[in-house]
Amino acid sequence: MAVKFDIQNLNAWFGLKHVLKSINMKIEENAVTAIIGPSGCGKTTFIRCLNRMHEITPGARVSGKVLFNGIDIYDNGVDPVMIRRKIGMVFQKPNPFPMMSIYDNVAAGLKLNGVRDKKILDAAVRRSLELANLWDEVKEDLNKSGASLSGGQQQRLCIARALAVEPEVLLMDEPCSALDPIATAKIEALIRKLAENYTVVIVTHNMQQAARVSDYTAFLYLGELIEYGPTKQIFENPKHELTERYLTGEFG
């Protein structure tokens, strides 16, 4: 399997607070990689470093290398806007654009990047909504407000919106933490389906979820990468004592 991200000595700060410490890891292509760890361990910051979203927070700083398809996304000549088109993101709370219809929400990324052709937009909207398992539920209501959907549907709408610009990677920041168990199950099934064609990196609080959906699991603690490997091995035979204590619920 090919390596999608090669992360070398990645450090991140908020002001003076050192939140990620010398992270080194490789993320496989077309697989689901879960990032687990207790609150405040830097999980979210870590994936926000992968599409250069970390730096939009005032006072935030990054050092180290993140090779994406072999190119360092923190290189001087690299345009963060182009990086974010290749590496999509889904957030913790569903955040559809409130003033836009379902159709416009999905088409937003293309429209605002200059695609005008109605046929291309129609096709992209349909393809993305089908991919996000939402098409059948909303195909009659494409002109309704995105905010009129249920929480789980809104999150799938956000996934469709991210997929519409045809990224190679989908970063998901606790995508199910605001959802009920049924909506969560749908998103998890969707994540497995997406892994056929996309590289998915998912941050989760929920260890069972990581065990269910991911191929690889990384355990972060206090900004350091403690253990990283195939999910089965991490859960059944953790090498590090901290990982085992976390997985058995000793702290969290």
């Binding site: 599409n51 979203m53 939009i56 005032p58 806007v81 182009m82 990086i83 974010r84 088109r85 290749k86 999509g88 993101m89 957030f91 709370k93 955040n95 559809p96 654009f97 409130p98 003033m99 219809s101 937003a108 990324g109 605002l112 990047n113 407000s145 905010a147 009129s148 956000c158 919106r161 991210a162 610009v165």
Partner: protein
């Protein structure tokens, strides 16, 4: 046992004088609140009543199609003043709205620098400056070089608009959640495009409210207009000349000795109120979102 004693003690406490006193206090404060509301509404409605009743009797077709009458002329109207007021407001908005809007965007979206702290402070100072002083400023800067003119008046009014528009725009944009900006940025939409499309459209209603407030404010201004442009009883004759103005109609006619001029003052006041109301309704309809 201890539990039930606590319960008993708690229940006994319910029917006390203290409780009755609180009920009385509640009614008293409620009464005071309603009284305050009522006393705030009395002047508003008495002004509206007076203007509508007196203004309405002057209104006729002639009132809307004829310009300001000369001394001794019977009848006359405010057609030129409506034209002039619209031109003045339009011109002031043309200057003031873009500057105010962009300043507001700067303060909200790019705003935690020393420059923005200074800008915010000076806008607060500017919005506190008496309008007559701004009128004199426009007089010194423009009227003295090109004469009493609609440009000078529009400039003065634009200066009054800018801080209002900027601060209300800033507040409106700050209400748009950060998660919406992040969603757009994560889609690979450049920062400026995110601001112009997603953020501005999310704050559209509140921004329009700010614009309307500022237009309503300048539409009724008379002091800076009088100083920089003066009173004019004819039609629009070029940007370097004065135009007629509804607020000045009220000011000049109300102090005149002629019956029909005083009636025109009331009529002008009514038209001015309706004009501001009309602009406000039109703007709300035009910017009404689908959701």
């Amino acid at each position: 046992m201890a539990d039930s004693q606590i319960d008993k003690g708690y229940c006994e406490g319910i029917e006390t004088d203290h409780h009755k006193f609180r009920v009385v206090k509640n009614h008293l404060v409620q009464f005071l609140v309603y009284l305050a509301l009522f006393s705030a509404l009395v002047p508003l409605f008495s002004i509206l009543y007076e203007v509508v009743v007196r203004g309405f009797s002057t209104i006729s077709i002639e009132f809307f199609i004829k310009p300001t009458p000369t001394v001794g002329e019977v009848g006359g109207g405010v057609a030129n003043a409506i034209q002039g007021t619209l031109i003045t407001i339009g011109l002031a908005s043309f200057i003031g709205v873009p500057i105010g809007l962009m300043s507001g965007i700067f303060l909200s979206e790019y705003g935690e620098s020393k420059l923005s702290v200074a800008v915010r402070f000076f806008y607060d100072v500017l919005s506190g400056i008496p309008s007559i002083v701004i009128g004199v400023f426009a007089y010194a800067l423009i009227t003295r070089s090109i004469g009493f003119s609609v440009i000078a008046a529009a400039f003065a009014l634009a200066v009054m608009m800018i801080p209002i528009v900027a601060r209300t725009t800033e507040e409106a944009l700050k209400l748009v959640p950060m998660s919406i900006r992040e969603a757009a940025i994560a889609l690979g939409i450049p920062r400026w495009k995110t601001t112009v499309t997603v953020v501005l459209s999310g704050a559209k209603k509140a921004i329009v409210t700010g614009l309307l407030l500022s237009i309503a404010r300048i539409a009724g201004e008379s002091a800076p207009v009088l100083v920089s442009m003066g009173f004019w009883r004819w039609w629009f004759a070029g940007l370097d000349r004065p135009v007629a103005n509804l607020a000045l109609n009220v000011f000049i006619f109300a102090m005149s000795p002629f019956e029909n001029w005083i009636a025109l003052a009331w009529g002008s006041a009514l038209v001015l109120i309706l004009l501001v109301l009309g602009i406000s309704v039109a703007a709300r309809v035009l910017t009404r979102g689908r959701y």
